[in-house]
Symmetry: D4
Subunit: 201 residues, 8 copies
């Protein structure tokens, strides 16, 4: 559930219903005040401060490796963590690579072994948004690109990285909405589990 623009009462009402029905809960884009209200009714809920998400998971499943999430640092962390928390709630173990940027290409190359073990990558980038292209040139699995609204001037609240990602010269990249960490984490988890579930059959 997108918590943004909802009152604490509205969030609590929907959250308790969702938690009961499915044993799982994800509320994105909420502050600590909303969490406090939810916590009263769902004491086993957890708040993820950087991701600004509430989660709850009453099912007990072992996480499945296969999702890696990359970004360039401090400013993109909230979106990257929203993606990570989403994928984790959907049963994935997430490899976080949070200090790589296109202007320091050698650091990215150092991570190649980890990246090549993933079945799906989420690459989060603001400003120029070039990281997904460079990453997709190095791996053979799907790359879900997330532009962020971080930046100033001609980044136009995320339009610049959005366009960069849509125009990628690398194959295997698809894009979600600006700041949509949830959508990217969800899609990466779906791809990862698709492979795993067939494996198990």
């Amino acid at each position: 559930m997108l918590g943004q623009g909802k009152t604490p009462e509205q969030v609590v009402a929907i959250a308790t219903r969702l938690a009961e029905r499915s044993g799982r809960l994800l509320v994105t884009r909420v502050g600590a005040d909303i969490f406090a209200a939810v916590k009263e009714h769902l004491p086993d809920a957890t708040y993820h401060e950087t991701a600004r998400c509430i989660t709850l998971d009453r099912r007990r499943e072992a996480p499945v490796a296969g999702v890696a999430i990359l970004c360039a640092g401090t400013s993109d962390l909230p979106v990257a963590e929203e993606a990570a928390v989403t994928a984790e709630l959907m049963g994935c173990a997430v490899e976080r690579v949070y200090d790589v940027g296109v202007a320091g290409i050698h650091r990215l190359l150092d991570y190649l072994p980890q990246l090549r073990e993933a079945r799906a990558l989420v690459v989060v980038a603001g400003m120029e948004g070039a990281l997904p292209s460079v990453v997709a040139g190095l791996v053979a699995v799907p790359v879900v690109a997330v532009p962020t609204s971080v930046g100033y001037g001609a980044s136009f609240q995320g339009i610049a990285p959005l366009l960069t990602m849509l125009n990628t010269c690398a194959a295997g990249v698809a894009v979600v909405n600006i700041d949509n960490g949830f959508g990217a984490g969800y899609l990466a988890a779906v791809i990862n589990r698709l492979a795993v579930s067939e494996k198990r059959d």
Copy 2:
């Protein structure tokens, strides 16, 4: 290889090199004249008229089912076929569903059984671009959405369906560039084969 904007000589030179090196070839966005030039050097190449693609595949692998491609009709066919031809060259059998639109929702519902057998869907749409959202609400696998530049007026050469798709309220959707049938077919094939390859292990 993107054939658009290249001379016949340039296409022939790159195409013969690619065919030799990998035993496979895909040239997108070329007319029959370019194909004639390629055919002289690569007699086993094939031209796909609607898709405006040249392919060649000297490997002999049985296609793997799991990719479905949807669009609303005549105008979106070139992009849908570019996606289909790409996925086929990458070893996938493609289910084509080419007459479904959001203003005739019942026809789409009739195809549900076929859609639910796919591991990855490509949904192509111009003008309003709402089809991927409706489809993603009906299936549980990744949907790769492709906006097309078909339309007039406020479709702005594909900006309208691009924005619709990026703003989808359905989870599991990611978007590629306007008219980028190749990118969508490639990504769907990667997702499909990822699952299959693990299954085989």
Copy 3:
């Protein structure tokens, strides 16, 4: 009267003049503070909290059925209610269908009987804005589409749903300004009453 951007004094002055002249009053986009000021001079005025409107109706006419208003939920309610309150003040009984979205198409289909009884539909949608197209494919009466500024990222304060609606592939749809619930409710009421008034003749 659009209350937004006016001082309480300005609203009170215009409101009392309008109420006297026509026996009816509609002030849109005002907070409870403005209502308090109006209430002092017009004690029979009513405040609609979700719609953020003040109304007053000294005429006593039986409402005429024929207008239905649809939206997908919590975030679009203020605009949908602005439309509903407007149509009601103009003498229409309004059918509210507030929990239907394109990613859950079956719920919408459940409402078909109600929708087919209306003479005019107002369909409110943010983000991707695809609901009016789907609805117009199911009915044969005019659909007034209202894009909302709800959303984030590439919704661009309502540009995305606005473009979606303008590019609709369904016939019988016309569009009003972003968030213009008033305009949509007014137009639906005019269409409804046009039919009814002739009937009575």
Copy 4:
């Protein structure tokens, strides 16, 4: 059917099917060459040169008055006529007022008696797009506004009149896509017939 972007063969195939099924046919945005092809299979089809439409109507119904269509002159005629032909095929008699502009307000005022007899107005305008607002201030029935791509410079292929119309200060106006004469004529006819059909009941 939108003829634009279809081959003569495609148009003929769809047109003959539609004509058989419903006894009526409308093909928009086609040249005389396409009409020649259609004429061979459907000898009772008619070509409207200014509107660039093909129509055929095997039903024999008396047209119902109630639709008026306005524009400022030569450049907007194709779109206005597309609207007129559409409304006529749907059984409406159309009042054409084709020489009124906002910079010559007195000529518009001369037409007031005719305008006030209509149940629905289509107002077509390019460049500044102000005509619908002025007209809607003079009548009490729905105004369907159609921006046209006619103009140059900052008209941006119809964006300028589109924005003008969406921002109208007059109530009772709704907007369709740039150059969408068909959509406007269809909607006006639906509104007109809605009133008439109830009257007849």
Copy 5:
């Protein structure tokens, strides 16, 4: 001087220097707090609340008639008054016509005699911005059009009326920046005085 974005100290410093040098002063877009600071140093300065301007004029010249300023009402007043105060400081007597809009064309026609006495008109309009075209169709003198950022949704902070005005079908209209009442008042005064000064020669 544009006061916006300057500290009280900066405004006072520049204002006192300007007042001394020329005996006249105009500071636009300032609040009452800045005026308080200026008043301490320039006790003969005046604050215009609606226009949000400070003026001072130590020269004693009789104002010259010839400038009229039009707008549609409450929301556009600050910009209209900024234009009026500017033209007055430049020695013009200003005719204010502040309650005319394109959706109520008859009220505008009532003012024709006054409008036809002016040598230059400033027409201020937000939302759809159609007023300058209608006015220019009624007079034979220059019309300076000022779009305002008032409005919501697809007015895009004044882009809609700006485009409307640039695309005017009426001759004799030129446009200044969004909300630039100063520029319009200045230009109208220059045109008015140009005529008058020659007359006196």
Copy 6:
């Protein structure tokens, strides 16, 4: 009359009517072929090749000095000449200054004496559009700025110079539509004659 988008027959019909009624004629944006058709019916008409205009003037009035038109050179000539021809037809003698640009400021300064004799200036500029600001800083009369669609890349068919001119830091500048030489020449002539007519009184 704007000739663009009209057939030779339409132009001839309107042109002969206008010439008869007023003894004057201006048709803008027409090629030599249209002129040939007009010439047959109006043998005293003249074609201005660079301006792409047809004029005819059966009244015999001495031209009045006071309008100067500036541009940077070859590419902007058609628009500058459209302005010049328009002002001349309206009875003004035009001073042409066609080789001045902001990157060669000294050449502009050499023309100062001529510029300061004008009552109204038309300044035409493409690409960066900075010339009107520089010119307006040097004179005390109205400057009508005309952006042109000349250029490439980020000039966006005239949006760049249009924005530059709207944002001018110089007072006394107003802007007309991109490439609208007619509008600028008309306005400059109106301003010039306004002054002259009063002088004569």
Copy 7:
């Protein structure tokens, strides 16, 4: 380091690490509160109030002349100073020319001797952004142009001057992001030192 969007703790952590490693520090876009936190850990750091930067330089090198920075006044000072502080930290002596604008061209010409001594110029401008073109027409060295978000209306937060600068008719100009004083100062310093370092060899 871009301080904007970082917490005091984050800035302090990165700043102390940078200062230790390189003996130099630059933090841009921070307020006095962040400086207070940094000062506790780095007592030899300096705060530049107008530039909103923190600097620290433990190396002792004589500054090298060759960089000049120009802007039009009060509103552009923060960006100009960010450029100046950056260039100074990189070892350049900076010539500040902060009161020149295109509407007062003579003042600019007075500075020609100083400008012609520089090896690289940074020209900062908001609103119309024409200053870099005029300056580049007067010198033969690289001009780094910085658009600022200062302005209102059609300046669109810096888009207007950005487009002006990209479309410059003067050779030798390159552009950085809106408000990117750091980038411009850095580039000018690199160019200046490139020349100097070779000279010393």
Copy 8:
């Protein structure tokens, strides 16, 4: 001289004048037909087919190394070559690196030794435009970035790479207009010669 939009006669007239005055000539964006006309008057002129430029250089100076030009391949060659030809005419020896892209980062790394010998780099890129950022992260000299209009869909004729480059996270990058190879080559040559000329002193 920009040849685009000029007639052969206009180009010949300006070209012969320039060649005589300075002994050098550069005409950009011209076809072979224009060259044929120029060749008749200036037999020592040369045509560069890929760059679409005419050059002539009667001075005999040894070229100075220090400029490198990079792009990703076939589509960007015309712009890259326009830059190269410009820098060569200005006395520079140019290192061409024309097969490097961000999706194949290892190939770029192979060129590092050559890149690090340059004093100024021109990096040309279309579509996503990420190459300048990656390159600037690897060198310490100025990078002049040139976006190209090559691409389709959301590249929007070069807006996508333009925004990417303006938002670069790498220091030392400045941007010129879309497709402006001349401007980039000119600027790189100025920077290169600045260093060299001081060295010689």
